[in-house]
Assembly symmetry: D2
Homo-oligomer: 324 residues x 4
């Protein structure tokens, strides 16, 4: 166990939460199963399965499946890499969604259109092929390849004055989709995850997640249908950068007694960290300066993959073709 991990920095990624618990020693966590696949284009897929309340408590994420697709090459903005990641995403979404031929879906773009780092959800919904309203107008031979898809970007509490869960509940009651897919910008622990990792989960969105204000859950319990969450980290708390640099420092000197004599008690450690953090980075959440391009790229990949998974008439090869 690292001498500094008592800070417990927040992350929306189950993989990071798990890694923090396992530490360098890669110890097993009871109630959590992990597997990893290495694919072409240096794409890594991690599957974290939380199988018991014990695991839930250990990593602070509800029971369920969390799939993380990671590709550092996404930073290069290469279309071939984007398509390769998209195909993996299509494959994994397909596994989580269990779609029937007429399954209807409601895609919810969470976040704030007017704040770039929080705009992933609305950007994805703007690029989707929405079809629910066409079903009565399209001839059956065409409709065969299109499942009924609806989409909404309700905005955030600060600009609507209404809890997002209230809005979505009202819509789900009327639209009665078979599945809800929520897209959201996430907070990661590590800056290098931003714009390079996609997480999908079958647990929905749960209080405290996301970079916005707290909101009530969007999950099977609250909405009555399966809820898939898709997200990409777009921000980290500046405190995490401080924490990580201190942890790296600690790792550097872990064999030297002198260092640890400085941190005698947990109380002393916490005090020290707080003083380091205050006031310049205390509450700040940061994002890379390339955030505009990053959001645009990731929105294309997510929307393209959703279009291809939901509409059988769009092949994985054509994924980026029908994205607006």
């Amino acid at each position: 166990m690292s001498p500094l991990d008592f800070l417990d920095p927040y992350t929306d990624l189950a993989l990071e939460a798990t890694a923090a618990m396992r530490g360098d020693a890669q110890t097993e966590i009871p109630g959590v199963r992990i597997s990893e696949d290495k694919l072409d284009h240096e794409i890594t897929v991690n599957w974290v399965e939380v199988i018991s309340p014990e695991g839930e408590h250990a990593i602070g994420k509800p029971m369920g499946n969390y799939i993380t697709i990671d590709c550092a090459e996404l930073h290069r903005r290469n279309r071939d890499v984007q398509e390769a990641v998209g195909k993996v995403l299509i494959d994994k979404l397909d596994k989580l969604l269990s779609l029937g031929p007429n399954t209807s879906a409601l895609i919810v773009g969470l976040g704030n259109w007017h704040a770039t780092p929080d705009a992933l959800g609305p950007r994805v919904t703007a690029k989707l092929l929405v079809t629910r309203h066409l079903k009565d107008f399209v001839p059956p031979e065409v409709a065969g390849g299109l499942r009924p898809v609806a989409a909404i970007s309700p905005g955030v509490l600060g600009i609507t004055g209404i809890e997002t869960a209230e809005i979505i509940n009202g819509i789900v009651e009327r639209v009665k989709p078979d599945v809800v897919i929520c897209i959201d910008a996430l907070a990661a622990r590590s800056l290098e995850r931003i714009g390079t990792t996609i997480q999908i989960a079958d647990t929905g969105i749960n209080p405290g997640s996301g970079i916005g204000n707290q909101r009530r859950g969007l999950n099977r319990e609250t909405l009555g249908v399966p809820v898939i969450a898709m997200g990409v980290p777009t921000v980290v708390h500046a405190a995490n950068i401080v924490h990580d640099s201190m942890e790296a420092l600690a790792n550097e000197f872990k064999h030297r007694k002198a260092f640890f004599q400085l941190f005698n008690t947990p109380g002393e450690r916490r005090l020290m960290i707080q003083q380091v953090l205050t006031p310049s980075v205390g509450q700040l959440v940061v994002t890379p300066k390339e955030i505009d391009d990053m959001i645009e790229d990731m929105a294309k990949i997510l929307a393209g993959s959703l279009n291809a998974v939901l509409h059988t008439s769009i092949t994985a090869q054509e994924m980026l073709k029908y994205v607006n």
Copy 2:
């Protein structure tokens, strides 16, 4: 009656619908009361009151009050003119809204954020002072000047796949506002109305209104609370321009027999108009090329007026100060 008005071109403005019926002779329309005020800055206020089913049928608008504020000077983009129009709007909104000290309001920005001529509603909601979620956090002496205001821009059927009325119904059931105010871009008959006229009405939004696709009504009957509609014309059907030019031609020659010999029967007239219209302008809806600035200016005036009417702590003088 003009020889060409059988075309009955569509308008969202009760004032234009009334004027079309009254014709040059300014005949009275049973069931419709009209009054006009001339104010400073060449602002004209017209009040059309539809008081019976007979009037409703005559002009094709539901019974209720329609107030039109018109100011050709708005084209000059002068801040003093904008404030003057805003103050008249505040005064008229106040009359229609009958607000109590704790009246809660839901503002609905109808239309499509991604289509400039249809983006008035979403642009207004983006500039509003939304407060519903603050009521538990604000000390009473501050809260005294702020009524609970919520706002939503649900998008249009083509991008959500869901009837807007379904979405709003679901939200109204949960938020339970005392009044709903819908903002929408309108279609006018006359190009000169675009960006110079504001209509407010206590009849809500009714099928066929707006420039988007047909949608079910948003009114007291469907939502269970008073619904105020605010709109600004942003488009005209190109057919109206054709119609108006022919009507002007007809007026030019109304004392010459030769002209009218050309139009012997209504059937002949209709056929002629159709041939003139086909195919170049048939279904086209047009907007001035300055539409971006126009939408921005009008969104500021509407949002500023709503902020000042709904929040007593904002004076009419400060109207434009708190608009984002």
Copy 3:
């Protein structure tokens, strides 16, 4: 000759100017050669060559080549149609440009980013693969497929206070490109041309063109290098709609004496038109309400075609792949 064409409505399209002169009788115009090709996807290519001062005077366009690619299907926003039009455009650009292996190009995006109907030029430059600054950093085997391309969107006189020609002249002097390609939104006579026609010409941009204010020319004479102009009509003068409807009316009744008795003298005719036009549509320039999508689609086609023509490492098939 039509009884009403004395109004001489303005168009940036040489094809429309030619058609107006030729009239229904399709008479030849001395000094102007015209050819037409019908291609797949209902694409029509017209080549207007103005070969003498006589032709120049007749249609009001400088001597040179004007190629018009027309496809009404572009309204359907189908990717296959867009690619088909793009391939024709690539072919025609290639003919006009006569590129050598190291030809350097400066692309100038004329128009106003903040006014949607005038934003075509800036939108195209934003989507280009710009490479001039990379030449010293890219290995020769990669650089082989990339010509040096620079791009600038200087803004319009109203937002810079500087004549666009002054800005471009200063840049051309320093950058010394072998060819300049100017992109601009155009004014057409006919509403149906908007978003369905692309004009390219080897005559550059000449005073009075475009929908913005008058600006000095951008052509071989003023810039010292060949200047190719590319444009898409995005607006029409509302007066043209009036004119067209009257012309249609005149055609309808061209065999009836009674109609022509109404227009005894040219002076009477002009007066009549003026009265019809005043004041509602007099100076207004209009654009369809779908202008946002139209500009986005056309910017993709133009930028994609330019990328493929200028960079041999991008094939025509990949045209839309590298457009941002």
Copy 4:
């Protein structure tokens, strides 16, 4: 001297560069004069004057005047605070600019419109009252209050392929302004400076400044006229956050021998820092997640102040009234 400041983190702010040199002991720096004023609304004004090559070398900024206006309250987005800061800015700009009655100005908005943290310059130019082209059309009694102002946002090297200095040089040669004012987004050392500090300087923009790629200077030497630079920090290098946290740690333990035994030689220290930084935050530049609102607010204050300074017909009280 702090035990860790050998890292020498980059900042565009002369005040931060000075503070880093002075350290906690507030030692004087030869060749650099500093003064500080505390004003209402907790606004602090610092004036750093680099008066000799010695001072230039010490803090790494060219000789000249650097005025920093700082107000942490700007984070609250209060209009009264914004106006108060704007008035201070107007006063300081007036001192640096020495405007005559007919002084003409060219405002250059540096940076990339499409990257929010780098978009400050283009956003300011979009809000300016540009008048150079009006001088021949405006009656003298009106023109009296308006100086000739031109504005340009040329884009960045990555999107134009042309060095910004080349473009601006070409324009300055033609427009021949009496003064050039460059607006740019800056990099600060401290996260808390972002969106709360405005720096103006009479030294222009010099190589290595700004958050974009290196560009040649825009200063009196290269442009031939006085060049005023205005900027607001919008980003920090993530490495600075690491550095600051280590510095805070060092300060915390500066009286304990054990800590310093860990850092025996500068070489060891540098290695340690590098290992802490690699790879997660090495080259990353970050910005707060509220960047969109911050850029909008600061653009309004800068544009409003410029309008009021340059046009005597706009009073400081009306500063925000004429900002688009």
